[in-house]
Amino acid sequence: MALLTIARETCKGCGLCADVCPRKILALSKEINSRGYHPIAVTDQSQCIGCAFCARMCPDAVIKVEK
Amino acid sequence: MGQKMLMKGNEAIAEAAIQAGCRFFFGYPITPQNQIPEYMSKRLPKVEGGCFLQAESEVAAINMVYGAAGAGGRVMTSSSSPGISLKQEGISYIVGAELPCVIVNMVRGGPGLGSIQPAQSDYYQSTRGGGHGDYRMLVLAPSSVQEAVELTQLAFDLADKYRNPVLVMGDGLIGQMMEPVEMPDYQKPADLPEKTWAATGWTPSSDRERAIINSLYIDPAVLEKHVNHLYEKYAVMERTECRWQEEMTEDADYVIVAYGTTARIARSAMRKLRAEGIRAGLIRPITLWPFPAEPIARAAEHAKAFLTVEMSMGQMVDDVRLAVEGKKPVHFFGRTGGIVPTVREIMTQVENLAKEGE
């Protein structure tokens, strides 16, 4: 099992991470952060394989991946 | 002082710069200053840590100066009027980023490509900043090769002291003329600040802040504060860095104000006028900015009139008028296009004033 930690306040909700996730477990939140963006969130952490595609695709370096 | 040598102005300036610790020179060919980069290209590779580079343009040269100054190097560039115009962008950035450097302008006739003969028509450009934005440069105007040597060395120290570019403003004559010169034994002033701001490599464990060499302040309040800080430096320069030479002004009825090559001719005219019984005097600004208003204001108390002589259509005369504050008439005589005024021409101007009783 892997763990994603998302810096919600610096995420701009571009969604590029969700596109590249092989397990499709990333989606934009309904809530907005302090800068007015819908940050990305993990829908099912148990499915994460820790491939870090999301983190490598992220333009704002908001994702930390642990395994 | 060392041995007396016969040197061309341009070469003497280059050697003086090296003696003062200048190790980096970036330039581009333009007449009448080519002997400066040529001399540097010969000498700097033989000096430890020295680097001469001929840039692809004046624009590139001044930006190489920006990079070298930002890295903490003692650096210089030189050019002549059209080339100095091209450098204005970089000069503005250098001022904004508070970097020290020395720029030499061997002024030639303008506007446009103008001529390659001596002129002083870059006075406005030099003393009013030159590029965009609120700023000043210290401007040093030598009138002999010996003085060019001394002012070039002073320029490096002043640049470092104030973290501001210093312009040495000569003209084609100062650059091309050969005169006997003694190279001073240059001593770097002990009180010059360390360049702890320079970008030389940093880690979080370094004992200084991360260096950011920059002139961008996007927040208007922060930019205003930055410009105010620059002007605090300029206020100190105005108080402490004004330099001039006065000759026979104490009893003068007619005070000639001239700088650089023109001041030498004006001096001859003044002496001949004295021999004719006309009490003439000379004030020679050595710093064009800050402008020596004080001796001019003092002379305005007793003189009948002023005559400003320039190799231009009249630029410094504005500063003379500001200094005189309307107390006495300020006249102007100038030749331009690369023509040097003669002693006789200047004498005639003053003789006419004396005849009119002004």
């Binding site: 892997a2 306040e9 610096t10 701009k12 571009c14 969604g15 590029l16 596109d19 590249v20 963006y37 820790g50 870090a52 595609f53 983190a55 490598r56 695709m57 992220c58 333009p59 370096a61 994702i63 930390k64 991946v65 642990e66 395994k67 | 190790r23 980096f24 970036f26 680097c51 580079l53 840039a55 692809e56 624009v59 590139a60 040269a61 930006n63 190489m64 100066v65 920006y66 990079g67 070298a68 100054a69 930002g70 890295a71 903490g72 190097g73 650096v75 962008e89 970089g90 950035y93 970008a199 030389t200 490599g201 940093w202 979080p204 991360r210 260096a211 950011i212 920059n214 002139s215 961008l216």
Partner: protein, 245 residues
């Protein structure tokens, strides 16, 4: 649990000002990771451009200089000549490098100046609001080519990497893209290689990175990357253009 991936400390904690989905952020990260992995933070000097990356000095946790528009290679030259042991890189966009700074980049390259250039090509002027760039594709609509770039009127886009690769000075020139994870990994290798070229003293190195501008292209971040792949790569073929052993 072990860390598989996290932000390198060579990026500061200042949030990037780039638009959502702009790939400048990815390229910043790759440059920072290369600096980190090569252990050269303490001797690296970055030169920021004018353009979208003008604030790069806020993001790279190294000594930085901010250059005038297009002049970063000249500034880098001055910096490197004073302290040749420093690792000096410029980070420039296509307007900065290929238009107003065409002379500076060409001459830094032909001198074999021992610096590294990160050239971000997104075929448009981003910061100023989407004007035509020297790299804008034929037919591409921008705010100053509203009918599409017409080569008969304003010529063709410049392939900078190929052009500079014809010179004898450069030691390493490559073009990469960041439109998907595989290409991001490739771009990272090229950027690292470019820095290694400089560390080895081989001379001028440049990595051109094809990048997106969702805001000014008028697309979502994903659409922009698809457009990049479909339109920019045919115009700007990827690969190593020059490598001196």
């Amino acid at each position: 649990m072990a860390v598989v991936y996290e932000k390198t400390n060579i990026l500061t904690d200042t949030p990037l000002h780039y638009c959502p989905g702009c790939t400048h952020g990815i390229i910043h990260r790759l440059v920072a990771e290369a600096i980190d992995e090569l252990g050269i933070q303490g001797k690296t000097i970055g030169i920021a451009p004018v353009g979208c990356a003008v604030f790069a000095y806020n993001y790279f946790n190294v000594d930085m200089m901010e250059a005038a528009h297009g002049r970063a290679p000249a500034v880098a030259t001055g910096c490197k000549r004073v302290n040749p042991k420093n690792i000096v890189f410029t980070y420039q966009g296509d307007g900065d490098l290929a238009s107003i700074g065409a002379a500076e980049i060409t001459h830094a390259a032909t001198r074999g100046e021992n610096i590294t250039v990160i050239f971000v090509n997104n075929a448009i002027y981003g910061m100023t609001g989407g004007q035509m760039a020297p790299t804008t594709l034929p037919g591409q609509v921008t705010t100053t080519s509203p009918y599409g770039r017409d080569p008969a009127l304003c010529g063709y886009p410049i392939r900078v990497s190929e052009m500079l690769a014809t010179l004898d000075g450069p030691a390493y020139i490559a073009r990469c893209s960041v439109h998907d994870v595989k290409h991001i990994m490739d771009a990272k290798k090229c950027i690292k290689k470019a820095f290694e070229t400089q560390i080895a003293g081989k001379g001028f190195s440049m990595v051109e990175v094809l990048s997106s501008c969702p805001t000014n292209w008028g697309m979502t971040p994903r659409e922009a990357l698809n457009w990049l792949e479909a339109n920019m790569i045919p115009q700007y073929p990827l690969g190593v253009k020059k490598e001196v052993e």
